[in-house]
């Protein structure tokens, strides 16, 4: 090896092959690992959803027994929430935040490596339970005692998997807070941050505040099961409802952890393809912060039927419907951004508009669910299932897909296949509505959630929903095909990629250099975050 080459290696210092990925501290490598991991989990969780829809295709039990069905609903939720959506957001944060704020990398690169590499172990623990005596956890992802304490050998694996996922999320969140507060380029003031960075900062604080609460709750479950405590056992002087309060004190901020970065992505994509600045930048920031604050005082709307005092029910109802106000402000701002603009409809824009429209439908059903007296009817029916799939699938997942198509040319240096992208969008959008819209009807007509078999009057809409589900599942193969094709090659992307693109990430080459900004960007290149 020549001296020059040796010097070159030492300077860059990154090994190749497997060691590169195991030991990397680079924000882009780690971001890629997060995104690939999340995509794999999306398909594992999706396969479980296919089992659920297959069994519900017609009344009677044809394929799985009720216990395994319950394992599928439980594991589908855990895998999708903790394995697919949360790591995907951390992956986006890793890739984009340093490039958006003009930094070379994340503030805590070794913590970054660690926070990713915890995840494969966490999910090995969790998925291994599928092969254990007594089966995988089947008490619902909410892990309510006393039912969850009836879990077999899988129980401690579930608890430690949740601990690992939580540790990973907290480490990722700390890293993002440290990066945004310390690594911004000179001239990048807080009110100039792109909204994706803003929403992620708020998300990071939600994570740091809420995940330890979940850790506490599951630790109490563990000691109840193995060490003779009775935190949640009425017979021992404990309280099963206390678990629900603690769990949802984590659980409600958690749903905003899943959706806030999606707001940031929509706020990046819509102005780009509308060729017009984002309307109401500062109100977007304040609305996100209000939503985050409110998310901590509405938890009991998940448990209106446990029998709370009237005053408690009224408080949680008022606080819950209040969230419609800042959320409405966001939707109105996106529409105002599109008004009198000059739009084109590339795949990221299609997914972003799909996100705004379909997330709003989920918002309406959310408002209805927030009205306590009617929630006594809706609670734990398919109406709820329809609601949270509208906000999480056509909300969070649509934003993830929009963001993927938006930044894929920047990441890979190649344009993706626009025809394939559009086909993916239209197939997904038609099928996802066939899948989830009829579930509103099922819920209103009286079908409870989490049941493997149902009365025959629910047969028609379940069949329709299942057909939508199969088509939606298959359509996601188009997503993978589009990504693989783009990574392998394609038309060379320009630095700016999109005509209407603004922001520091578009000033870097496509693909960007290994260390994003080795020197800070010129202050003149820093525009307001409304772009």
């Amino acid at each position: 090896m020549s001296e020059a080459a040796a010097h070159h290696d030492a300077h860059h210092g990154h090994p190749t092959g497997l060691t590169r990925w195991l030991t990397t501290t680079n924000h882009k490598d780690i971001g890629t690992m997060y995104l690939v991991f999340s995509l794999i989990m999306f398909f594992i969780g999706g396969a479980m959803a296919m089992v659920i829809r297959l069994e519900l295709f017609q009344p009677g039990l044809q394929f799985v027994n009720p216990q395994f069905f319950n394992s599928m609903t439980t594991m589908h939720a855990l895998v999708m929430i903790f394995g697919a959506v949360m790591p995907a957001w951390t992956g986006f944060a890793n890739w984009m935040i340093p490039m958006m704020i003009g930094a070379p990398d994340m503030a805590l690169p070794r913590l970054n490596n660690w926070s990713f590499w915890i995840l494969p172990f966490a999910f090995t623990l969790l998925l291994a339970t599928l092969f254990m005596p007594g089966g995988a956890p089947a008490g619902g992802w909410t892990m309510y005692p006393p039912l969850v304490l009836q879990t077999g050998a899988a129980f401690p694996f579930l608890i430690f998997a949740v601990h690992f996922m939580g540790a990973s999320s907290i480490a990722g969140a700390i890293n993002i807070v440290a990066t945004v507060f310390n690594m911004r380029a000179p001239g990048m003031t807080l009110m100039k941050l792109p909204l994706f960075v803003w929403t992620w900062i708020i998300t990071a604080f939600l994570l740091i505040a809420s995940i330890p609460v979940l850790a506490g709750a599951v630790t109490m479950l563990l000691t109840d099961k193995f060490f003779g405590t009775s935190f949640f056992s009425a017979a021992g002087g404990g309280d099963p409802v206390m678990f629900q309060h603690i769990f949802w004190f984590f659980g409600h901020p958690e749903v905003y952890i899943l959706i806030l970065p999606a707001f940031g992505i929509a706020s990046a994509i819509i102005p780009t393809f509308a060729r017009k600045p984002l309307f109401g930048y500062s109100s977007m920031v304040y609305a996100s912060a209000s939503i985050a604050f409110l998310s901590f005082i509405v938890w009991a709307h998940h448990m209106f039927t446990v029998g709370m005092p009237l005053a408690g029910e009224l408080f949680f109802m008022y606080a819950t419907i209040l969230i419609a106000v800042p959320t409405g402000v966001k939707v109105f701002n996106w529409i105002a951004t599109m008004w009198q603009s000059s739009m084109t409809f590339e795949t990221p824009m299609l997914f972003a508009i799909g996100f705004v429209v379909l997330f709003t439908i989920g918002g309406f059903s959310g408002l209805m669910l927030g009205i306590t007296p009617i929630d006594f009817q809706y609670h734990d029916t398919y109406f709820v299932v329809a609601h949270f799939h509208y906000v999480l699938v056509t909300g969070a997942v649509y934003a993830l897909m929009a963001g993927t198509y938006f930044w894929l040319p920047k990441w890979t240096g190649h344009m993706y296949d626009e025809k394939l992208g559009k086909l993916h969008f239209w197939m997904s959008t038609i099928s996802v509505n066939v899948l989830f819209f009829p579930q509103h009807f099922l819920g209103l007509a009286g079908m409870p959630r989490r049941i493997p078999d149902y009365a025959v009057q629910f047969a028609d809409w379940n069949m329709v929903s299942s057909i939508g589900g199969f088509v939606f599942g298959l359509s996601q193969l188009l997503f993978v095909a589009g990504i693989v094709k783009c990574v392998r090659g394609g038309q060379q992307a320009t630095d700016k990629v999109w005509e209407g693109a603004h922001g520091l990430e578009w000033t870097l080459s496509s693909p960007p250099p290994y260390h994003s900004f080795s020197t800070p960007p010129a202050p003149a290149t820093i525009e307001g975050g409304m772009r």
Binding site: A138, V241, G307, V329, V331
Partner: protein, 286 residues
């Protein structure tokens, strides 16, 4: 021949026309919340419809604006982007207007909730206990109580690969061996609790569900206006047979209910001492 065919067609279309409202009614029941048979369920239904129409109205505005923009502000149509990007007045308006709408919606919602939580002046009390996987009903102060389990016909059909078509089973999964029998026109207080894990007792026609939680006794009430059979299910995941513990309530006119109660009391009088586990244990220890 031709006349008879046209007659048949006319008869058929006439029948179809007659059936149409019925079909529409059936379809509507498969799409929307039930109106139910209690004052509370009717209040809830009205509230549900009001808020749904409010959402539909807002939705028409929001989606209308989005689709108007998509159709008109296209680069391909030569649209040029304006550069305005903020307005405090507009932000204020679309913050204040939703607040007003919410306050208006909160008033009837609060009234309905206060109505639901008022269990005073009830004529009778029934204790509902959830078990894995059946219900127990105790008529407090009457000394009558029994378990209510999924009907045998449904239970055989719901087994994996049973070979029985669920559509051939009457009230598949919504039939029990012992129905909960109640009188119409009386305010009934329900106390819900559970013996093992958390369950939830739901009859859509009554307008509410309430969790049955070990260590807790929750109070709710219902005043059923019309005689009939009302079906529901457990709505809190409670283990493998969560989907197989239905609730069936038979509401009878006062006199018929009284007759049923007396008959059941007579049947249970000797049976209680033999079947009741604690009774036997006490007797044996003496």
């Amino acid at each position: 021949m031709t006349t008879s065919i046209s007659k048949l067609t006319r008869l058929g279309s006439g029948a179809a026309l007659l059936l149409l409202p019925l079909l529409a009614q059936a379809a509507w029941n498969e799409l929307n919340l039930t109106k139910g048979v209690t004052p509370y369920s009717e209040t809830v239904y009205d509230l549900h419809m009001t808020i749904m129409w409010v959402c539909v109205a807002i939705g028409i505005g929001v989606f209308g604006a989005i689709f108007y923009s998509i159709l008109n502000f296209r680069k391909s149509k030569g649209a040029v982007a304006a550069q305005w990007h903020e307005s405090t007045l507009v932000e204020f308006v679309w913050t204040a207007v939703p607040v007003i709408i919410l306050v208006v919606m909160a008033v009837p919602a609060t009234k309905a909730l206060i109505m639901m939580e008022d269990v005073s002046n009830s004529a009778m009390t029934i204790k509902v206990t959830g078990y894995q996987w059946r219900w127990r009903y105790d008529y407090v102060n009457e000394g009558v109580g029994f378990y209510s389990t999924l009907a045998k016909t449904s239970d055989s059909a719901r087994q994996l690969d049973s070979g029985i078509d669920p559509k051939s089973v009457e009230n598949y999964l919504l039939e029990v061996d012992n129905e909960l029998v109640v009188p119409v026109g009386q305010k009934i207080r329900f106390l819900t609790t559970a013996a093992d894990v958390i369950h939830s007792w739901w009859v859509p026609a009554l307008g509410w569900k309430r969790d049955a939680i070990p260590g807790y006794i929750n109070e709710s009430w219902a005043l059923i206006k019309e005689p009939g059979v009302y079906r529901g299910q457990c709505t809190e995941l409670c283990g493998k047979d969560h989907g197989f513990m239905p609730v069936v309530v038979r509401a009878l006119p006062e006199a018929e209910y009284k007759a049923w109660l007396e008959k059941t009391k007579a049947e249970q009088a000797p049976a209680t001492a033999m079947n009741d586990g604690t009774g036997v244990a006490v007797a044996a220890s003496r």
